[in-house]
């Protein structure tokens, strides 16, 4: 054999040994997708995500500003004793708003307790969103009218609900997509895996959107996974995945929009991991200085998603001082209205405790209801 023949044969063997692997299509980009740098400058793209329209980005900016103002107001309400507790998502606004802008009103969102900003961005009444944390009931809104499941506290359990709802909707001929929101900690729970597996096996149109904010209360990401990134968890279930810079609003919206299109087209679930950061402690009751350095938090301050989008939109001329002031005023009015409406303690009715345990109370619950009524009557007589 001549040298050339040997080289050709070797090249042929290499080709034969590495046929195109369909599994590679399931893998995320090796680096998180970015479209805007930290100063809001448009980056040259190494991928083919279509750029969201300027109108969509201005809408996103407005939602993010109002969402952050809501978040700050809710934290303040804990200090005034109006809320029992509040888990802030400050710093995650690109994810919170991107998740709901990527879906239709008729699509379902399955949020966690940290996703209040996503809910208000879906135009759910903020007082109803905060009912859980104010403590006058659990879920304050009607999930069936706003197509949003109750905020889920048992981690990752909503991943399977999203799969079942999406499958059930398709079963009945509707093209609804389910958007399941989860955090990095929740990816360690069994229901995250069972949800993705069910969705994949039944080709259910679900987008699993992991907001990796680096901490599960105090436990860092390194204790949740040894995977290169959480997006790599998709391939084991046959679920295509992507990772995105979670503080880049343009990239978040672009990646989630494609994931939703994939699901709606009947191609099954999609996993998106957004790399972001929880700027505040787990809740107002947590002390984050016990487990992370101020320097780390400061570094993330420079990657603020709102500042990034504002800089980009100003540079393109889509946003000017007047519009920024207008949005800011709208956010202030939103917060003021919330303050007013949260000022008075809500009326609670102890007898309503028995109303919704079952469609009709059991005889045992009716007995207990009468007992409580008697206790209340006795209290009233005592007060009189």
């Amino acid at each position: 054999m001549t040298t050339t023949q040997v080289q050709r044969a070797a090249a042929g063997r290499r080709r034969a040994a590495t046929p195109p692997d369909p599994a590679h299509a399931l893998l995320p980009s090796p680096e998180p997708v970015r479209m805007l740098d930290e100063r809001g400058t448009r980056l040259p793209t190494a991928h083919d995500y279509p750029e969201p329209s300027v109108e969509a980005l201005v809408r996103m900016y407005r939602r993010m500003v109002i969402g952050r103002r809501f978040d700050v107001q809710a934290t303040a309400l804990t200090k005034q004793g109006r809320l029992a507790v509040y888990p802030s998502s400050r710093g995650q606004e690109a994810c919170q708003v991107g998740a709901v802008l990527a879906v239709r009103d008729t699509d379902w969102v399955f949020p966690t307790y940290r996703d209040s900003v996503a809910l208000v961005s879906r135009d759910i009444d903020p007082v109803e969103v905060l009912t859980l944390l104010r403590g006058d009931w659990h879920c304050g809104y009607d999930p069936t009218t706003v197509h949003t499941a109750p905020q889920c506290t048992p981690l990752a359990t909503q991943c399977v609900h999203a799969a079942g709802l999406a499958y059930g909707e398709a079963h009945q001929g509707r093209d609804t997509v389910a958007m399941a929101l989860i955090g990095d900690g929740a990816t360690s729970e069994g229901d995250f895996h069972e949800g993705m597996n069910f969705a994949a096996v039944f080709k259910a149109p679900v987008v699993y959107f992991v907001q990796n904010n680096r901490y599960a209360i105090s436990v860092p990401l390194s204790r949740q996974t040894a995977a290169p990134s959480l997006a790599y968890k998709g391939i084991g279930y046959g679920v295509p995945a992507e990772q995105v810079d979670g503080n880049d609003p343009m990239a978040v919206l672009a990646v989630l929009t494609r994931a939703v299109e994939h699901a709606r087209a009947g191609r099954g679930p999609y996993l998106v991991e957004a790399h972001t950061y929880r700027m505040e402690p787990h809740t107002n009751a947590d002390d984050a200085t016990r487990y992370r350095d101020a320097a780390e938090v400061d570094a993330w301050r420079d990657r603020d998603p709102i500042a990034r989008l504002e800089a980009y939109l100003r540079a393109t001329g889509a946003l000017d001082d007047a519009t920024v002031a207008e949005v800011s005023a709208e956010a202030e009015a939103y917060a003021a209205d919330l303050r007013t409406r949260m000022h008075d303690a809500p009326a609670v009715d102890p007898l309503s405790l028995f109303d919704h345990v079952y469609a009709e109370p059991t005889p045992q619950l009716r007995e207990q209801r009468e007992q409580v009524r008697a206790e209340l009557d006795a209290d009233e007589e005592g007060d009189a």
Binding site: T144, Y167, Q172, V201, A359, Q364
Partner: protein, 340 residues
């Protein structure tokens, strides 16, 4: 009337419910092509197609959680947990979501799911196949808990469970699956929340449910030789519970033994005994007694007969119902040392 079994009656109830309502979907492990390990779903996939009856991945939390989402979309899922102890991975979904969604949302969202659980022992099963897990569910507000003891009830209660607006844990006594009986199906019996007197008697009431009902009936039959005329009440539904029928029976007889196959401590039988003593105290001639399984993990097959409450253990309890107006000597204060 035709000869049938509880397994066939359950199968007929599923088929009739699926015919009556397109929203009813049946799924779980091995329920499709195979028809379930106990054949309860036999033929459903062939008849209704694999969109109405299908196999799932082997993951019980996933099965129940999937059912929650499907119910949210307007379907009526009926899921099978293959065996009692295999349902434990689903417990978080059941306790935190299935049971609570209606209440969490002030009635806006309901999840009418039926979770079928083949339960209890007496079939020589190896470990993890024979647990009596009813107390876990009955202790969880928001669930209805139903357990048939007859072929007619198996059909009727399952149809009612599928039609019910609330989630129902439907507990099927495995050892009764294949016992033959005469019944004409379809049939409707007493609704949820109604206990039924299976045998009338004057001297004492045996209260039982599920796998213990045949034991109670056999004990009542055997008790005739001792001169006791025993009444047997079948609870049928543990939630909602029929206090009235049971209290009325005990007020008539003045004596009561509660029988359950499950281990006794903190079990359903304890709750029933308490409810009876509270309601019937002045009609009682003896403390309410309870016969149950032992407080041990379910034993290996060759030892299960020691664990399971049988006719003899029931009759021993009946004998201790203070027929001669003497207190049970086991509970008298010790005299040792009291003279000092």
């Amino acid at each position: 009337m035709a000869a049938t079994t509880m397994a066939k009656a359950l199968n007929a109830a599923l088929a009739d419910a699926m015919s009556a309502d397109d929203r009813v979907v049946v799924f779980g492990e091995d329920v499709g092509q195979l028809g379930g390990v106990f054949r309860i779903t036999d033929g459903l996939q062939a008849r209704f197609g694999d969109r109405r009856c299908f196999d799932t991945p082997l993951a019980e939390a996933g099965i129940v959680g999937f059912a929650v989402g499907m119910a949210m979309s307007g379907l009526r899922p009926v899921v099978e947990m293959q065996f009692d102890a295999f349902a434990y991975p689903a417990f978080e979904q059941i306790a935190s979501h299935v049971a609570k969604l209606r209440n969490r949302t002030r009635g806006a969202l309901s999840v009418p799911i039926v979770i079928r659980v083949p339960y209890a022992g007496g079939i020589g099963g190896v470990e993890h196949h024979c647990d009596s897990s009813e107390a876990y569910y009955a202790h969880t507000p928001g669930l209805k808990v139903v357990t048939p003891a007859t072929v007619v009830d198996a059909y009727s209660l399952l149809r009612e469970a599928i039609e019910d607006p609330d989630p129902v844990v439907f507990m099927e006594p495995k050892k009764l699956y294949f016992a033959g009986a005469e019944a004409s199906l379809p049939v409707r019996a007493e609704p949820f929340g109604r206990a039924v007197v299976r045998r009338s008697g004057r001297d004492a009431t045996l209260v039982a449910y599920g796998p213990s009902v045949p034991v109670a009936l056999a004990a009542a039959e055997a008790a005739r030789d001792e001169g006791w005329d025993l009444e047997v009440v079948d609870c049928r539904t543990l939630v909602p519970f029929d206090d009235e029928t049971i209290a009325a029976s005990v007020r008539r007889t003045g004596r009561c033994v509660v029988i359950q196959e499950a281990q006794g401590f903190a079990g359903v039988g304890a709750e029933i005994a308490w409810r009876i003593q509270e309601r019937c105290f002045h009609a009682l001639h003896a403390p309410v007694l309870r016969v149950s399984g032992l407080d041990i993990p379910y034993p290996a097959p060759m030892l299960e007969h020691t664990h399971l409450p049988g006719v003899d253990r029931v009759l021993d309890a009946v004998a201790r119902l203070q027929w001669d107006d003497q207190p049970d000597p086991r509970w008298l204060p010790s005299l040792e040392g009291s003279a000092a």
